[in-house]
Structure formats: structure tokens, C-alpha cells
């Protein structure tokens, strides 16, 4: 929003310091001034929050016809003919006075303050401040610093009461756990006794505090701003794709901060993302490759490790005997390189970036896509068919919250239990696990609902149906995996029901693992090839680019593990994956890992699964390598290198190339830009990406781009040529130009334009239509039938919490202790009939196993449902779940 982009037509003419500028309608004076190059000092104003006009620093002389008067420019909207003087003597005197007031009680401890060097108050004072203080009185003294949460400390002496943190907590995060107390000069920021500022977003207050009053326990005294080096990148903690800045000093990552980009995070981060900066410097990081020596893994030379890795793959009896799990935590370039190795060289299609905890790739890639902005567009209607976004995609939650609270967006939720966003919805219904599709079907109908469905009362269903029916225009759906104890087919069927009833619906994926969307786009899923094309549609296309392509659609993670358990997998490769911890069915994962002849792993740190491997290749991690990543919207943004990897760890794409050359095939990559260039030239949805990136949009690039591929005919063969690879049957070279287009492609010499997705093909000949493979399309798996309810039992709902036992959280010391631990929650109504005590311990039993956990009472859990949290210490849910079943039935008894 930097440069002036408003015309006199839609704008308001105002005069700032004698110069006429055009303000936007409703634009605040402080904003219009800044946008047109006049910076007005401020402390309480924040561009992403409502103004309160508290600090008074932004006072300027404003004349709206009644003569000049001092006005807070953060509170007044530009009106036609308004004249503002930000330089006048009156303005300056007022601003100097304010600064003196703010400094009166402010300690002079800048040298030991974390904010020193990047402090607006300090800068303002240096620039304009009154020299020596006339305030000889004793300054306010307060206890300092006091922890207001596990992650944030408060120094009340430094606080200038700008109301930023408190406004953020209430208005942005919806966690009003910090508030002003007392009055006048005694006013303080405060938490209620025994109710800390336990917000998933608390770190943002540290970032927006204009002084050093709020500091984070992870960064206090770590570094001084002037010896920090900074690079912009994209958070990889989840798949929202928040833009961040990485600060390092002495080649050590020190902290992450949010960067404001309009389409995604607005400058906010969740605490998990912000404090995952600690992961980079974790003790657990692998600094060199490991190879098995008997029962232990020992450090090895790269040549040996790579040799054994390649050797194992070479010794596989057939492509089908190779299985590859993981890849969601990689860059697009890493993922493409592995994809090319496994599918394009080794010709196996048993490749899956997901661990049975997501949705089928055809659903993620094939459904019509919506962006975050489209979902949050004012006045819209959104159907939430997925996980608890507050727990899994926190900043998407912030965007949805803003949409619901500020922009009149109607939210309708269909989830197996209440979630962090339920209180913001117009209607929130909780069908019995396994039966969501029946409910969605009814909600899509035009007929009033007068009967209970899937355990949901008719009135609640009708309220939800009406909310959806009264949507003006198409609705959007946030689609993800609501519960790991329920088959993905249930969600797929629900999505199919929506699409069938409202074909104009668009979908935003809610899969959470960092670059899972990039991994799927790069073909790391059975039946897919890079660029959102299916194996069958893309085989011909890729056969011209790759040495080989898989013969038939392969297995997903569940299939691979079953095959391995049955001894049909010779080599099981784990790409930064931990099936034992993450696969919903721990028993199957265990049998799979045991059954595989050889397990190979590539990872940044050891995990329970890679500890079983023959070879573990040490991979470079986040902030240690450059590349690109793709978020839930299909938006590609850049990842930057800020520090060098530990020891000799290397980027995955390099490892893939190394392994490949040891297998006798040169992947043709000497740098990640080579990989990016190839992706941009061959992966249909990614065509011309490199050119777009070169143009450097800070907001990232939404794919696919409007590109035109000119296809020529040479010797009656359709020929598509790229600068790097020749793709003719007979080796003739013709140039193809892929260029980014501003608007719809022009057709020269009457050649007709065919549009396939966003991709336009100009062909001088009919029969080359579709020479480029079409994009994956969504296939409805047909309906699912849930088993009858067992009246003695409960249906299990397994959801995630932001903090769990996952590698990321556990290798960040600040976050690790925040994982809540295993519990089972039941509706308050259940306790009498069960005879178990709230807060006591209970046995949760399925046909296959039982676990003992604490029982809680939670009205957000429907009757007949047992709600558990996955991947927590003790009592693992994955011990209970069996992927054979559509839903998991459990019995609950008091634990002896």
C-alpha cells in the first residue's frame, strides 16, 4: 500500500503542507499523509487496528474551514478541502510537548532494553526530542519485568499506555486477557489473577509494542538490533504462508517477526510460527549423515552414506517395491527433485507426501480454488468443513475472525465438535462422526429441515441451512480433515455434496503441514505428476521431459505401509516424515516400518521412525536454504537462506541429484534456480513461475499464471521445446516462449484460443488442442455409509492442538512445555450414566487397544462423542485408530 495509487476520480483532494494530494475515501489523515510521503509521528496508531487516539503524538494542525486546530491525524478521515500542516510551529510545539510527557516517567535504560536501537520512542526522541529533561520529579517505580504468559514479559515502567497490545488481544485475537487497570497516572496493563495471557498470538504484542515494555522470553537480551542481519522469507510452521523476516546474528537465527502482506497475514504470526525460530538452532539438528552400524546409527562420510542410500534403491526388485513417504516440509525445488528421481528415474508411483492425515490429492488440487481474500470478502458466506482452524492454521483463523466480526461474513460450521471459531459462526452443527455428508446434503437443499440428522437437532440444521441459502452469490468452503479418527472419504463425500448442489462453490484447502500443497503440486502423491496433472494425462507430456514415468498409479501412505507390512516393500524412503508419530494408525505404521526390508531417511533431525533407518541423510532446514513454497491458496512465495546449515547438512534437491547421479542419471541441477527453471518450464500449473518471481511480487504469486504457450508443428509432430530440454521425438529444435500475460491472450493470424483452466494455448492447428495435459479434476468417491451407532459406546473424535509432541514444537524449548497432554473430553451429560469422575482417569478402549487418560467435561463435545487430542504425551490416539474403519467406536470406563 506504499505508493500513491489513487486518482482524483475516486479520491478526495486534501492539502498536506501546501501540496494537494488525493486521499482514498474514508482514509485517515495519518494514512493519506504517509502514503504520499509525509510521515506523521505516532505511537498508538497501528495500520491493522482501530485508532484510539491515546498517545496524541500524531497531533497536527488541521483546517476544515473553521480555522486551524490541533487534531489527532490517526482519528480523522480526510474530507474534501481539508488542509493539514504537519510542520507548523504549533504542530511541532504540541508534538515536542507530547514527547516530553511520554518520556517524563519513561526509564532511561535504553542501553539494556531489548528495543534499544529499534524503538520508535527512542528514534522519535533522537530526531526531535527535547534535550535534557525538565522533569526533576522522581519517576514512577514498578515491579519489573513480570511474566504475563509463558512467552511474554511486561515491564510496566517502560509502558507508554498506547493500548496496542490490549487492542490486539481483544480486537484482533479475541483473547481479552490483558487489559488496562486503575486510572490516570496509575493506569497499567494487567492480567487477571491466575489467568495469564495464554493466547496463541501473544508474540504479536511484543512485535507491535512501540517501546520495550513487552519482551519475549525467547529473545530477551539475545542480540542488539544493530548487529542483526535480516532476510524476508515465508513461515513454514503451517501452510498458511505467513510472510516473515528472519533476524540472525553471528550466523545464528535470533528471531522471526511478521511482515505485513495484504493477501495473507497482515503482519501477524501465531506463537508457534514466531517461536519456531528456536527450531533452527535446536540441539537435535543433524550435522552429518548417519549410517547403521548394527543396532546404532553412527556418523558417516557423505560418500558412504549416499552410496549406501543409492545402493539400496538400486537393489530394489522393482519400482513397485519402492515406497516414499513424506516431503511436505520441503521446498518446491526439493520436492520436484525427489519427484523427478522417484517417478522420473526410478519410475515408482508409491509416493505420498501426506501421512494418511490429510485428504486425497485430487480433492486438494482438483476442487475449484478460493483464495483467503475471496473467502474473507465482505458480506460473503463461508462453510467450514474441516479442522479447528485456530489450532491448525492460526493466522487463517485471525483472517476469518476479522471477516466475521468486522466485515459481516457469515460463517457456517459443520464439525464433529465445537472449535475455536464456533462462537463466531452463525450456525455450528456437530454431526456424528462418519455422517457429515448426510448433514451437508440436507444443508444444501432448498427444503426446510424438520428432522434430526446424524444426531443434530432439526432446528440447528435449519438455522445452518437458512444461513447458507441466504448467501448472496456463491459460497466458499474451507476444506480439511476434521478428525483423524474418521476416514477422509467422509469429508470428500461432503465436499462432493456441496459441489453437486452449488457448482459455483470454490474451496480453500485447510491441510496444515507446511508445504504439503507444494509437495502435491510437485507430484509427491500417487497418480500425480508435477504441475497438478494426473499420471495418465501427463505421462505423454513428461515422457518428453523425464527419462521415465511410472507405469501405473501407485500406493498412498496407507497402501505403502500395508504393502511393507506384507513384505512387498524393499525400500521405504522417509522424506522428513515420522509415520510412527503422525500416521493415524500407529499399529499399521509399526508393522509397515518393521516389514520394509530397508528404511532410508532424509531429515533435519532424528525422529522415532528415522531411528529405524539404515541411512539418514542430514538435510538443511528452514532458513538454511533458498527456494519457493506454496500455501493453502496455491500461492507461491520465496524462502530465503539466512544462515548456513549445521555441519555438512545439504538441501534436499542436492541430495536427490547426488543420489540420482549415483544411479547413473544426471538430474541436471546445479543450483535451486536450475530446479525452479525446469519446474517453470514443464510443470503445467507452474509455467513461467520463474519469470513472475523475477518480477518480485512481495505478495507471492498465485498459480496458475495466465501464460500462453505457443505450440508449433514440426514434421507433423507436436513440438514443445524449452531452452533446456529438447522434447521432440526426432530431436528437431523449435523455440517455445512462455510469457506472463497481462490480459487474455491475443490471437494472431486468426489462430483460435483454447482456454484450459487459466492456461491458454495458441495453436495454429486444431489437433494440438490439449497438447498440454489438463489439470487434475475432483472425482467424487461416491457416498459413504457409516456403521450403526453402538449405544453403549462413543464415537471417537481426534483433533489437533497447536502444541503437540511433533518434532517442531518439541525442538523449540519455549513451546515444548505448552503441549497440553492427552485427555478425553465428554459432554457433561454423559458423566452420570458412565459413573466416571470429571478430572479422574479413564480407560478408552477400542477393539484393538486401550489407553488411560484424564477425563474432562466439555459442553462443546456432542453427546455420544469422545474427543481426544492427537500426538500428545501418553495415551496416543493413534494406538486406538484403525484405518480399516470409517469411524472409531470406543468404550470408556473408570481406570482402575
Amino acid at each position: 500500500m506504499a505508493e500513491s495509487d489513487v486518482t482524483a476520480v475516486d479520491g478526495i483532494a486534501v492539502e498536506i503542507n501546501g501540496v494537494e494530494v488525493i486521499a482514498r475515501k474514508g482514509e485517515l489523515l495519518i494514512e493519506a499523509a504517509e502514503r504520499t510521503g509525509t510521515y506523521i509521528p505516532r505511537f498508538c496508531y497501528h495500520e491493522r487496528m482501530k485508532s484510539v487516539g491515546m498517545c496524541r503524538m500524531c497531533l497536527v494542525e488541521v483546517d476544515t474551514g473553521r480555522g486551524p486546530a490541533l487534531q489527532p491525524s490517526c482519528m480523522i478521515e480526510c474530507t474534501p478541502g481539508m488542509k493539514a500542516d504537519t510542520e507548523s510551529a504549533v504542530t511541532k510545539k504540541a508534538q515536542d510537548g507530547i514527547l516530553e510527557f511520554l518520556l517524563a516517567n519513561h526509564p532511561l535504560d535504553c542501553p539494556v532494553c531489548d528495543k534499544g536501537g529499534e524503538c520508535p520512542l527512542q528514534d522519535q526522541t533522537m530526531a526531535f526530542g527535547p534535550g535534557e529533561s525538565r522533569f526533576v520529579e522522581e519517576k514512577r517505580h514498578k515491579e519489573k519485568p513480570i511474566p504475563i504468559s509463558d512467552l511474554v514479559l511486561l515491564d510496566r515502567e517502560r509502558c507508554i499506555l498506547c493500548d496496542r497490545c490490549t487492542r490486539f488481544a481483544k480486537d484482533v485475537a479475541g483473547d481479552p486477557l490483558i487489559h488496562f487497570i486503575h486510572r490516570g497516572n496509575d493506569t497499567e496493563v494487567n492480567t487477571f489473577p491466575d489467568e495469564p495471557f495464554a493466547s496463541y498470538f501473544s508474540g504479536n504484542t511484543v512485535q507491535i509494542c512501540p517501546v520495550g515494555a513487552l519482551t519475549s522470553s525467547t529473545y530477551r537480551f539475545k542480540a542488539r538490533p544493530w548487529d542483526l542481519e535480516t532476510t524476508e522469507s515465508t513461515c513454514q510452521t503451517c501452510s498458511v504462508g505467513c510472510r516473515i523476516s528472519i533476524d540472525s546474528s553471528r550466523d545464528q537465527v535470533q528471531r522471526f517477526a511478521g511482515v505485513d502482506i495484504d493477501p495473507v497475514n497482515w503482519g501477524w504470526l501465531c506463537d508457534k510460527g514466531r517461536f519456531s525460530s528456536q527450531v533452527v538452532t535446536s540441539e537435535e539438528r543433524l550435522a552429518q549423515p548417519l549410517v547403521r552400524d548394527g543396532s546404532t546409527l553412527v556418523a558417516a562420510k557423505w560418500s558412504d552414506a549416499l552410496g549406501r542410500f543409492a545402493g539400496a534403491l538400486a537393489s530394489a526388485s522393482s519400482p513397485q517395491s519402492i515406497g516414499v513417504i513424506g516431503g511436505s516440509r520441503l521446498t518446491n525445488e526439493d520436492a520436484y527433485a525427489w519427484s523427478k528421481l522417484f517417478k522420473g528415474v526410478l519410475a515408482t508411483d508409491n509416493v505420498d507426501a501426506q501421512l494418511g492425515d490429510g485428504l486425497p490429492a485430487h480433492a486438494v488440487l482438483g476442487l475449484p480454488k478460493a483464495t483467503i481474500d475471496e473467502v474473507c470478502a465482505p458480506g460473503g458466506t463461508v462453510l467450514l468443513l474441516g479442522p479447528d482452524v485456530k489450532e491448525e492454521l492460526p493466522v487463517l483463523f485471525l483472517r476469518l475472525r476479522h471477516a466475521a466480526v468486522e466485515d459481516g461474513v457469515t460463517l457456517v460450521e459443520v464439525s464433529p465438535r465445537s472449535t475455536g471459531i464456533s462462537s463466531l459462526t452463525r450456525a455450528s452443527v456437530h454431526p456424528r462422526p462418519g455422517e457429515a455428508a448426510d448433514v451437508v446434503n440436507a444443508l444444501m437443499g432448498s427444503a426446510p429441515i424438520d428432522r434430526e440428522i446424524a444426531g443434530v437437532a432439526a432446528a440447528d440444521l435449519e438455522a445452518a441451512r437458512v444461513a447458507l441459502a441466504s448467501a448472496n452469490g456463491p459460497i466458499t468452503v474451507v476444506l480439511g480433515r476434521p478428525s483423524l479418527a474418521e476416514s477422509a472419504s467422509v469429508t470428500v463425500a461432503a465436499a462432493a455434496a456441496v459441489l453437486a448442489a452449488r457448482p459455483d462453490t470454490t474451496f480453500l484447502s485447510a491441510l496444515r503441514r507446511s508445504n504439503v500443497h507444494g509437495a502435491l503440486d510437485m507430484g509427491l502423491a500417487p497418480g500425480l505428476l508435477p504441475g497438478r496433472v494426473t499420471l495418465d494425462d501427463g505421462r505423454e507430456w513428461y515422457s518428453e521431459v523425464w527419462p521415465a514415468t511410472p507405469g501405473a498409479t501407485g500406493l498412498d501412505t496407507e497402501g505403502i505401509l500395508r504393502a511393507a507390512a506384507d513384505g512387498r516393500i524393499d525400500v521405504l524412503v522417509l522424506l522428513g516424515a515420522d509415520p510412527l508419530a503422525d500416521f493415524p494408525d500407529a499399529d499399521l505404521a509399526e508393522r509397515g516400518l518393521t516389514g520394509a526390508r530397508t528404511v532410508l531417511a532424509v531429515d533435519t533431525a532424528l525422529n522415532s521412525s528415522s531411528r529405524r533407518a539404515e541411512v539418514v541423510l542430514a538435510a538443511a532446514g528452514f532458513a538454511e536454504k533458498a527456494g519457493t513454497t506454496t500455501n493453502i491458496e496455491g500461492r507461491v512465495s520465496t524462502l530465503s537462506q539466512r544462515v548456513t546449515p549445521p555441519g555438512t547438512a545439504r538441501a534436499d534437491w542436492m541430495l536427490a541429484a547426488e543420489v540420482s547421479s549415483r544411479l547413473g542419471t544426471d538430474l541436471g541441477f546445479d543450483s535451486f534456480t536450475d530446479v525452479l527453471a525446469e519446474i517453470s518450464a514443464v510443470a503445467p500449473a507452474y509455467l513461467a513461475l520463474d519469470q513472475a518471481i523475477a518480477e518480485g511480487s512481495p505478495d507471492g504469486i498465485l498459480l496458475p499464471l495466465d501464460v500462453v504457450v505457443i505450440i508449433d508443428e514440426v514434421d507433423d509432430d507436436i513440438v514443445i521445446v524449452d531452452e533446456t530440454v529438447t522434447m521432440t521425438d526426432d530431436g528437431a529444435d523449435v523455440d517455445v516462449t512462455a510469457e506472463v500475460l497481462a490480459e487474455e491472450p491475443e490471437t494472431d493470424d486468426g489462430a483460435d484460443v483454447e482456454t484450459d483452466g487459466l492456461l491458454a494455448i495458441i495453436a495454429d492447428d486444431e489437433d494440438v488442442d490439449g497438447a498440454l495435459p489438463p489439470f487434475v479434476s475432483f472425482v467424487s468417491d461416491g457416498t459413504v455409509i457409516a456403521p450403526p451407532v453402538d449405544s453403549y459406546g462413543f464415537r471417537l473424535v481426534a483433533t489437533r492442538k497447536l502444541y503437540d509432541q511433533g518434532t517442531l514444537v518439541q525442538s523449540a524449548p519455549a513451546l515444548a512445555p505448552l503441549a497440553p497432554g492427552s485427555t478425553v473430553s465428554l459432554n457433561p451429560w454423559e458423566f452420570d450414566r458412565l459413573g466416571v469422575a470429571v478430572g479422574g482417569r479413564a480407560t478408552v478402549r477400542t477393539a484393538k487397544a486401550s489407553v488411560i487418560v484424564k477425563v474432562y467435561s466439555d459442553p462443546g463435545v456432542p453427546r455420544g462423542v469422545a474427543a481426544m487430542i492427537v500426538n500428545q504425551a501418553e495415551g496416543r490416539v493413534s494406538d486406538l485408530v484403525s484405518t480399516d474403519d470409517l469411524v472409531a467406536e470406543v468404550r470408556i470406563e473408570t481406570a482402575s
Binding site: 481479552p176 487489559h179 487497570i181 486510572r183 494487567n190 492480567t191 487477571f192 491466575d194 489467568e195
Partner: protein, 204 residues
């Protein structure tokens, strides 16, 4: 400690029902809690937060803004002596000094027997009756040092039954009989009032 008692809970819901928005009942409910316990307990504030739908931190934020709300136990009798300008001109500060001697405490303190808490307060709107004070917000006008000592003795020996314990304000409560109730008007009730519409005047 104490959440609202069941009978105060009933009062609370009647009070909440009088306002277009529950949160508007926050201060009245805090008074109710202070009437119940003599000061505001954390539990009561948390309970009130639940009742009007705000966080405990917000309840405390509002409560602590107003000096009548006490977060710590205070004396049975809150003795507020005005020293603002009109009273200062007529001996308010001297009265306060005398009170400090008589009670043996400084402003803000409570006597060891827990009977009296003394406060040096701002204008209490009895300026023509200076010097003046309030005991639990009941006025004593044009009070002399002797008069003050007398008052203290009377309170000690329970001869001032007209003054209830700290926390009790009006001893009569407003009660709107159901059959007479017009009902709260919420910001969502956009209709023109009947009598305005009937008078056929859009804008009086």
C-alpha cells in the same frame, strides 16, 4: 472466595434484563457483589464476567477504574472526608487531621478492629455544608471535631443503625413489575416509536 449467592444471582438476571446489552449491567453487578462481600473478590468478578459475557480481565479493568470498588477487604465503615476546595476553605483538611488522630490511621488505612477505613476524598457535592464527610456514602454535614468523635463513638457502640455496612448503597431497589414493563430497546429495534409514528411526525 464468594461467587454470587443464588438469591443475588436472581437479582443479577433481573438487572441484566433491564439493559439492551448484558455488559451494561457490569457496574450494577459489581455493586451487588460488593454489597454481598464488602469488597470485590476475584471469584465474584469472574462470575460476573460469565454473566455478562466478558473476560475476568475486562471485569477487573472496569472495576479498578472506579474508586468505590475495593479489591481488598475494608472496614465496616468507610469514612470519606472531603478536602476539595470548598471544604478545604472551611477546614476539611483540619477535620481529616483530627480524624487521623481519633482513629489512629492514615487515609487508605483500616483500624485494627476492622471497623473504620479512612479516605481523603474529592468533592462529594455538599460544598455548602463544609466541612463534610460520608460514612458508607451517608452524609454528615458541617461536622466539627467534637461532632466527628461523637459520630465515631455512636458507630462503635452501634447507635447508628441508619448506616448499613460498607457495600450497601440504596436500600430500596428498583423493581419493574412485569405487567408494567415496556421492555429494553436494543440497537437492533430500528422501528419508529409507536407514539412518534402515530403523531405522524418522522422527526419531532
Amino acid at each position: 472466595m464468594a461467587r454470587l449467592t443464588s438469591e443475588n444471582l436472581a437479582l443479577a438476571s433481573e438487572i441484566i434484563g433491564r439493559y439492551p446489552r448484558p455488559k451494561s449491567a457490569l457496574i450494577p453487578l459489581l455493586h451487588l457483589a460488593q454489597e454481598q462481600d464488602g469488597h470485590l473478590t476475584d471469584d465474584a468478578m469472574a462470575h460476573i464476567g460469565e454473566l455478562v459475557g466478558v473476560s475476568s480481565a475486562e471485569v477487573l479493568g472496569t472495576a479498578s477504574f472506579y474508586e468505590m470498588f475495593k479489591m481488598e477487604p475494608v472496614g465496616r465503615y468507610m469514612v470519606n472526608i472531603c478536602t476539595n476546595i470548598s471544604c478545604q476553605l472551611r477546614g476539611g483538611e483540619e477535620l481529616l487531621a483530627h480524624a487521623e488522630k481519633t482513629l489512629g490511621i492514615r487515609p487508605g488505612q483500616t483500624t485494627s478492629d476492622g471497623l473504620f477505613t479512612l479516605e481523603d476524598v474529592e468533592c462529594i457535592a455538599a460544598c455548602t455544608e463544609a466541612p463534610c464527610l460520608q460514612v458508607n456514602y451517608r452524609y454528615e454535614h458541617r461536622i466539627s471535631n467534637e461532632g466527628f468523635d461523637q459520630l465515631v463513638n455512636d458507630l462503635r457502640s452501634g447507635r447508628r443503625s441508619d448506616i448499613p455496612v460498607h457495600g450497601v448503597l440504596a436500600e430500596v431497589r428498583q423493581h419493574i413489575p412485569e405487567d408494567r414493563r415496556a421492555g429494553s430497546v436494543t440497537p437492533e429495534d430500528k422501528a419508529t416509536p409507536v407514539w412518534i409514528a402515530a403523531a405522524g411526525e418522522g422527526q419531532p
